[in-house]
Symmetry: C2
Subunit: 603 residues, 2 copies
């Protein structure tokens, strides 16, 4: 398949030519002196947006007025002589929306394509945590994300992934030690430490964890939390460590406990986790300044169908939240929390990132301006030409295709089986009789016991974890993926070794992706050449490809709702009960690797 990549250097040259009215999302790009002169009205401003109903997130009012823009920045509110006037005809203007915590990797598309998709929804700033790509590529992944988010019309800030590797029970692509992370804390677009998932490491005062937190706070940047269900003294201790936000609340009580103890609450509406409606009751005039919206992990389907942060605003308003509060939560709150001084409000000195809309009860972007330039009109991109190419990414496949085999010599008669639970990412373990053919344990299709394998792809170790899974439903063929949290080795489930091999080898060939194989033929594939996680195609294209993948899996008998999402969590050795890593089966409750073959039933 032909890729439209260009190199980083080509990309930069190209951008320099394209840049036009664009300005960098980092500070200090427009000369401060020019900004002041423009604000004083010393010469006509570039553009005056007249007759706006401005959402003022400082006074929480809607105020009729004009917005003067020069050099991509708002320079003043009021009457200004201007080279150009845009009459907004009494429509509403909000600051561009901010996603306070997102893994761009979960959109399965490149940074540029993600930007194109979400800007249409009014999102002009995101704080991204490149946790997934960092687990694959380490600092090279951070550098890649920083480079590929330069000079985009939307502002992409990052938090530093705090937990790479996520676990020590598998082979990840990288280790980000405190001393590796520290210099990145000085980067202008790195605005904090990403979600500290390792809460046992916090509570038990792991040296590296404490060092990362201290370094971040010393640089006057916040540490984001990730503390699902943490309560009482453990929560007090987690907060005492200096962790100041959480996006994992699932109930209003949980959110209020955390908010009262000082945490900023990021209400999440992702794909796997949708917490918006459950948490709306937390929002009132007394708490609204402590809340942000975020999407965390949001898949192409939901972004295309429902929207992004705009969906959260709309839903909140439809459920009785004051529209200005809902916008404030989407704008000034995250801007203040992360110290993003140039975004989040309509005021002198801020970037002219504006969302124009007509209906306060159904906030949907008519137009989106980024740095004063019209990027979206009628909800559609105005500049399909911009950013068609994404920054190239080196291959992350360090695995020899020829050496892979999935045979499992039978050692005993009974095996541990990973048992799927409907609509959940946790699993149970059960013991079954192995189906043995020619001294090899094989899939037992009639009992829905399929073979599963995790192929290490980062270090060329040759590790292949092999086991069995029940509840998936395939009657033929195999499906495979290089998206497998959090280390993103290649994971494959199949009814037979040959199809599994074809599926995995095709992923290696594509430098990552998803495959469905039946009778040694590729029935569907979705290339993810960026770190094995992201496509270089548009979000709409990825969404269609993903639909095709799911249909292919279903055609082979898959009974789970979202086969590739379920697949992607089966290698994550922190979610109970039985998982598979490249080093073999892992019992999360025992927190130890366990053998595939057992002597007798466990219970």
């Amino acid at each position: 398949m032909i890729r439209t990549y260009c190199t980083l250097k080509q990309r930069r040259l190209q951008r320099n030519a394209e840049v036009g009215l664009f300005t960098k999302p980092s500070m200090g790009n427009m000369d401060l002196k020019e900004l002041i002169a423009a604000a004083k009205g010393e010469h006509p401003v570039d553009c005056l947006f007249t007759n706006a109903r401005i959402i003022n997130v400082f006074s929480n009012e809607i105020i009729a007025g004009h917005i003067a823009v020069s050099g991509g920045y708002i320079v003043g509110i009021g009457e200004y002589p201007a080279q150009k006037t845009v009459d907004l005809k009494n429509r509403y203007v909000s600051p561009g929306f901010i996603d306070a915590h997102v893994h761009i990797e979960s959109s399965m598309t490149s940074v540029a394509e993600f930007a194109k998709a979400v800007v249409c929804k009014g999102t002009t700033t995101v704080v991204a945590d490149p946790h997934e790509i960092a687990n694959v590529m380490g600092t090279q992944g951070l550098d890649y994300m920083l480079a590929s988010s330069e000079n985009l019309p939307i502002n992409i800030f990052f938090t530093l992934p705090s937990c790479v590797p996520a676990t020590n029970m598998e082979t990840a692509g990288a280790v980000l030690d405190p001393q590796i992370i520290k210099p990145y804390l000085n980067h202008q677009r790195i605005v904090g430490l990403g979600e500290m998932m390792n809460f046992p490491g916090v509570l038990f005062r792991d040296d590296a964890v404490i060092e990362k937190i201290k370094d971040t706070l010393s640089s006057r940047k916040p540490v984001d939390g990730h503390a699902p269900g943490l309560t009482g003294k453990d929560l007090n201790a987690y907060i005492a460590a200096g962790i100041s936000s959480d996006h994992e609340c699932t109930t209003a009580d949980e959110a209020m406990e955390k908010l009262r103890l000082g945490m900023h609450i990021m209400i999440r509406e992702g794909t796997g986790a949708k917490n918006l409606k459950a948490l709306l009751s937390v929002i009132n005039e007394k708490t609204a300044d402590r809340i942000m919206w975020c999407t965390d992990d949001r898949h192409p389907h939901d972004i295309c169908e429902q929207g992004h942060i705009d969906y959260m605003i709309r839903t909140a308003v439809q459920n009785g939240i004051d529209p200005v509060s809902a916008i404030r939560i989407a704008t000034i709150n995250p801007a203040q929390y992360f110290g993003l001084n140039q975004v989040g409000s309509i005021a002198p000195g801020k970037k002219a990132d504006l969302v124009v809309f007509s209906d306060l009860q159904n906030i949907t972007a008519d137009e989106v301006y980024c740095s004063g330039r019209l990027i979206v009109s009628d909800g559609k991109l105005m500049h399909e030409d911009f950013l068609t190419a994404c920054v190239s990414c080196p291959s992350t496949m360090n695995v020899k295709a020829g050496s892979i085999d999935f045979v499992i010599p039978a050692e005993k008669e009974k095996i541990r089986v990973i048992e799927l639970i409907e609509k959940q990412i946790i699993t149970r373990q059960s013991i079954h009789d192995a189906k043995i053919e020619n001294d090899f344990a094989v899939a037992d299709i009639s009992a829905d016991i399929l073979k599963i394998a995790v192929v290490e792809r980062h270090k060329g170790t040759g590790n292949i974890g092999k086991a069995f899974v029940s509840g998936f439903g395939l009657k033929k063929g195999a499906i495979a993926s290089s998206v497998a949290h959090d280390s993103h080795n290649i994971i494959v489930i199949g009814t037979n070794d040959d199809d599994m091999k074809v599926a995995v080898e095709r992923i290696i060939e594509m430098n990552g992706g998803l495959t469905a194989v039946c009778d040694r033929q590729i029935s569907a594939e979705l290339p993810l050449p960026i770190a094995g996680l992201m496509s270089d195609k548009s979000l709409e294209t990825v969404r269609s490809q993903m639909d095709a993948m799911i249909n292919a899996a279903r055609a082979m008998g898959a009974i789970v709702a979202d086969p590739f999402m379920i697949l992607s969590f089966l290698a994550l050795p922190v979610i109970p009960e039985l998982k598979l890593t490249d080093r073999g089966l892992f019992d999360v409750n025992q927190f130890a690797h366990v053998s595939l073959f057992v002597d007798r039933a466990l219970f």
Copy 2:
């Protein structure tokens, strides 16, 4: 007079012995690991404050609960095993109050004595702008303020004086260029750039002004504003420069214009300027998070009689502001604005700076805890022994007493006279016939035209500005002061040269202060040995001394309400119309020095 100074080094040794439960106001003093362990309840905490009605500034509620403290920090909210229990008997507990902008010099007492005075009022954190001492001593003044505020029970943070010298029309003690200021921006207790009074410098893009602003913003610290009456495009431009607060609003309309444009509003209740009541209408649930309290310049009398930030809270509540909002404005708001992560709320990881009070409608500190230690009980200091000595300060008098004379050879028959306007610090200029004796122009007591002089005291230039002033009222003697904004040369007004000389020479002898002299005898004096601005005595003592000074001036005929305050502004060449610097008369409207003698009436 004998001073109780000790050297900086002695002071530090002494503090090390005293320090006990004290902790530094800077970050990272309690080991983070110990904090986490304590929060987990791994061992009994130092102290559990039980049965508290806690002012929760996150959720803006009052919540019954217990507060666990260890090592000077709040480690948890809830039930904890404790070595000691303090039953608060359902009284209210607020985070310690914060003064968002104060010139400690205006209290006319040392940092330690200021701290003792305001902690009794519940103030446990101040953000001080050492503008006055920096104009006298430059970086030595900054260093002095930093050193003398180390290890105090209250937290003293600083903003860097942005305007030293305040003007170029007089001889100041120092010049703080951007390159001198820059390294200070890394100091943990320096939290921003102080009030940018030089708004013409901002609007006309003075290089040094712009550089200071940029450097501060680059260090992720805010730039405080000072923009009395600035409005419209000039205000837009001032804000576009990155200046994010203002404490000079005098009307609600002015405050709302600034707030809507993104400024944080510091409502001020000082001595010269009292804006609280005029601005209360700005505060509501939609704006409360953008507002802070500050005192700016508050003299001993007002602190002793009315109080400090507590007075502002009380007054606000008496005027209908919700008590929790009034407290939030005094606590979390300035903490967030300045990034003071360890103060401003009652939550895990914050310093145990607590104000206990009984009546929500009349908030007056019963007890004040600093870092968990009881410092104030029944409104009185519990540890009179602590901090009796203040850090020594080198002499700032570089002037030869013997060389001073105040004679004015008569050049022409008419003179410009500085004409006081009742109850204002602005002046007018008028032309009078000079009273000439033996070819010298002298005071004309019957016409209330007194001699005034400004004696340069920083550089030993020998400069003495000489002129005449009307409206002061002295019938005999002279009064003098080394507090003379903003360069703080020695200013003197008198009926005769001899008394003026005695008054000034005594100030030089005292290393600064105020004097009243009649018939060559000192009738009252107030030594201000710290930079000629601050006493080493208690605030109460200074207040009594100040009362005596004013009485002495009145006894000599002074008719102005506060003679020494008026005197202190007569050398400030930025407030119209006619002022006197060490280089002579200055016409503020013409923005130029002018001659004392004139040919004819100006009008």
